[in-house]
Each structure stands twice: as C-alpha cells, then as structure tokens.
C-alpha cells in the first residue's frame, strides 16, 4: 500500500451545465441536461447538429487580451484552475514553486486554433497564420498556461489517452505526489472540439448519435435506444495534495484519492474489448493500490458514453471486479446530462465523484427509460443518497487507443 496519502483540496469546472462547481453540481443532482441545438452557422452541413456548449463563455470570465492568446481548450482549463486554486485556499499559502506540479490533459489539443489557422492560410495566405498558433495549439498548452499563471515549477504534464486523458492526468498527479516529486498538483482535463471537422469525423465513424429528437434526450447511457455519444466541451481541475502538506496548512479536504489503475486493451484502435478485460484490470488495480475492500465501493461515476458496446462492457467490468457487491453500488453516467467532454470528461466526472462522496449523494442518469437487459447495474434515474461510514467511489474513463483509467476516491 502506498505510504503517502493524497487528498483533494480544491475543485473547479466550467461545464455544459454550469460555470462553476456549485452550479454544475446542483444541475447534475437535479438531472438537468446541458445539451442543445448548436447555433453555429456551419452546423447546417453536418449530420449532427447538437452538442453541449459550456454554460458560461470563458470570455465572460477571462481578461480579453489573455484569452485571445489561449485556445478555447486552454481557456476552459484556466477558468477551472482559477476556481480550484481559490477553492483550495492556495492564494498566499506560500507554496514552494518547485513543489507545485501540473497535470492537465486534453484529448485532441488546440484543434480549433489549428483549423482556424489553416482556414486563414488557405483563404488569406501564409502571412495570416498567427505567430501564436503553435503555443496555442500544442497539446501541453493548457498545462503550460496553468503552470505559468501559478508559477508551478515541478513537473508539468499533459498526458494524452483520448477520452481517458483527464482521468489519466489525475492518476499521474497522484503518482507525482507519491513519488515525492511534488507536494501539490493542479490536475484535470479540458476539451474544446465543437468544430465541424472533429464533429464530422466522429459522426462518420458512427460514434456520435444522429438522433434528431429533443437534444436533451439524445445522450441516454444504458438505454435500449442509445445510439452514440453527444459531444460536449469544458474543463475541470482538482487540486491534489499530500495529506501531510494539506494538514500542515490547515486545508479543508473533500476526499482522499485511494488508488489509480491504468491499463490498455491492445484490442482495437477505437472499439472497446467487448468483454471489458482491460477496464476490469484497471479498476482492480485502482482498488488494490488503495487497499480497498470491494464491499466499500458504493458509487461509480461510469464512463458510459451512450454507445451500444461500451456501456455494456463497463457493466461487465464492474461485475468482474465487485462481484456480489455490485448490488450495493449506485452507478451513474453524468454524461447523460453533460455529453462527452473527451479529454475533459474524466476530470469533470472526478469532480462529480468527489462531490458525491462529500455530499453522500449520487446524481441521477437521465433519459434511462428502458434499461438495456444486458446491463445489470443499479442506475437510479433520480438522485440517490449514499451510505454513511467509510465509503469509496470509482471514476472510470476509457479512450480510443484502448486506454483504461480508473481512480478510486475515499470519503473522509
């Protein structure tokens, strides 16, 4: 069992259902969807015209001149990091910069910056390509900008594992602290990929739902009528800290990170292993690392994106790892409300998992009208209280390339 305990001392997010943690959490508990018709003019040419835009535009929060030098994905990361930093009480806390790290991921990087500059190149010529394009679009731009803002001079990472990236960043942050490479790590994920090219690409690979019904009903994990995910955008950040460091400065902690597990399917570049073997190993690894009794796992924020195969595979994983205890486990997919934030998903769902432990309540899964008979899980459709005592909650994320990341959080 790892000796260094790691706690969560700060949270931040800007999501399709709220501009901060409090509004996002209330929206999730009340089953509010952040999915709507997109109003961009380019949407008419696409087979999919819905998505989860952030509830609060970053331009309403960030200084204009700073924002124009940041890709939208970095803007989300900055908004979330600013909130998490303040929430953790780190202003004036006198952190040693050399002991402060960052692990902020995205799945695709600054794709809108890349494509807008390509448009400028084609339409107006090479001279019109922004001199800021590279530092804006590079995949480590969100992490680097957070490090610049807060003077983080320990390791600054940007792990990429597609839709598992945000969760992998959290797992990496835990490692940095346990290996003694940092005392505090700003960890999370972000994505801003609501642009016609990634949307067309996801639609053409049949990953996105083409359901033309009421947009709020299209993301429907585990429902028999599910037919693909809905793209969302946003970012989320957690401040992770060694318990010793948090205690020494009198910080409030929401939850503990018990353990993390990372594995790969090596099965297919895009499809999940239909039996969920890789995910099973990741979840088992997270529990083993945290010395977690499966009986204490009472909540799972599932990856469940509303795709036909993935949602079933995740159920198999939970049965394989938790055995009979799966019956006591309240499972949710907050993607039913937020859509899928790709590299931001694991981080936003980590915030929701930590809040669920802290408030001892699970958000519902909405749009679950007819549970797929191949899924044998307890998935409430309205908020459900979690038990008192020492409890553990899992946050699962899986990504193209076969990535599987599970993080186990414990109540305090």
């Amino acid at each position: 069992m790892p000796s260094t305990r790691v706690v969560v001392t700060g949270l931040g997010t800007t999501s399709p259902v709220g501009g901060d943690v409090a509004s996002t959490w209330q929206a999730l508990l009340s089953g509010t969807s952040g999915i709507a018709h997109l109003t961009d003019e380019w949407v008419e040419q696409l087979p999919v015209r819905i998505g989860g835009r952030v509830a609060v535009e970053p331009s309403e929060v960030l200084e204009r001149v700073k924002a124009r030098r940041l890709d939208r994905s970095s803007q989300f990361a900055m908004v979330a990091a600013d909130q998490a930093w303040a929430d953790a009480g780190l202003d004036g806390a006198g952190l040693e910069p050399e002991r402060l790290g960052v692990a902020v991921a995205s799945g695709i990087g600054g794709v809108t910056t890349l494509l807008e500059n390509y448009d400028a190149l084609l339409q107006k010529g090479a001279r019109r390509v922004s001199p800021l394009a590279v530092p804006m679009l590079m995949p480590n731009a969100p992490a680097a900008n957070v490090s610049l803002k807060y003077g983080a001079r320990a390791a600054v990472h940007a792990p990429t594992s597609a839709c598992a990236s945000g969760n992998e960043a959290i797992a990496m942050a835990v490692d940095l602290i346990r290996l003694g490479r940092a005392d505090v790590v700003i960890a999370g994920g972000t994505e801003a990929a609501i642009h016609p090219l990634p949307m067309a690409a996801f639609a053409n690979m049949m990953a996105l739902s083409k359901n033309a019904a009421d947009p709020t009903t299209v993301s429907r994990p585990w429902d028999t009528a599910r037919d693909g995910f809905v793209l969302g955008e946003g970012g989320a950040v957690l401040v992770l800290e060694s318990e010793e460091h948090a205690r020494a400065r009198g910080a409030r902690a929401y939850a503990e990170v018990r353990g993390a597990g990372i594995s790969n399917d090596a099965h297919d570049i895009a499809q999940p292993d239909p039996e969920g073997r890789g995910g099973t190993r990741a979840i088992a690894m997270a529990l083993r690392e945290g010395d977690v009794d499966p009986a204490s796992v009472v909540h799972v924020n599932a990856h469940a994106t509303s795709t036909p195969k993935g949602d079933i595979a995740e159920g198999l994983m939970l049965h394989a790892v938790l055995g009979q205890h799966v019956d006591r486990c309240v499972v949710t997919s907050t993607k039913s409300m937020t859509g899928h934030l790709l590299g931001g998903a694991g981080a936003l769902e980590a915030v929701a998992t930590v809040m669920a432990l802290h408030d001892r309540v699970s958000p519902p899964t909405i749009n679950l009208d007819d549970l797929d008979p191949e899924v044998e899980l307890d998935i409430p459709t309205s908020r459900r209280d979690l038990p008192q005592g020492d409890i553990v909650a899992l946050n699962n994320s899986f990504g193209f390339g076969g990535a599987n990341v599970a993080v186990a959080f414990g109540s305090l």
Partner: protein, 81 residues
C-alpha cells in the same frame, strides 16, 4: 491619403486589440517594447494587422527597425506614398 494622425489612431486600435494597451497611450514617441510592453509575438500580430488595414507590406527585416509608434506610422506613410 490618410493623415499621420489617422494612421496613428488606426494603429492604436490594432495595438489595443492585440495587446490590450489603452489606445490613448499609443502615441508617436512611445516604444512598443519599452513603453507599451508589446512582446515580439504580439508585434508580429500588430504588423500583420497593420499590413491588412493600411494595404502595405512590412517585411520581417523592417520590423526590428520599428521601435516606436512614430517609426511605424512613418513607415506606413512611406509605403502608402
């Protein structure tokens, strides 16, 4: 032909847009780097926007000679001439 003051005012709007400098501070005697805190990448953005606005070409080799707002305005006036 635009007057010197018209060029200065349009350039000031560009510097404001790119670097957030108050347009009223963008006066002919001000140094882009030392007075207005315009960094090298922002300067490239200002130059490209100025090329479009004023219909001129400002080669990269010239940019290092444009130390003050007055240098830039004078260059643009000559190039337009």
């Amino acid at each position: 032909m635009a007057t010197t003051e018209e060029i200065r005012a349009d350039l000031a709007d560009i510097v404001n847009e790119v670097a957030g400098v108050d347009a009223d501070d963008v006066q002919l005697d001000k140094s882009f780097v030392d007075d207005l805190d315009v960094d090298s990448l922002s300067m490239v953005e200002v130059v490209v926007a100025a090329e479009e606005k004023f219909g001129v070409t400002i080669p990269d080799d010239e940019v290092k000679n444009l130390k003050t707002v007055g240098d830039a305005v004078a260059y643009i006036e000559r190039a337009q001439g």
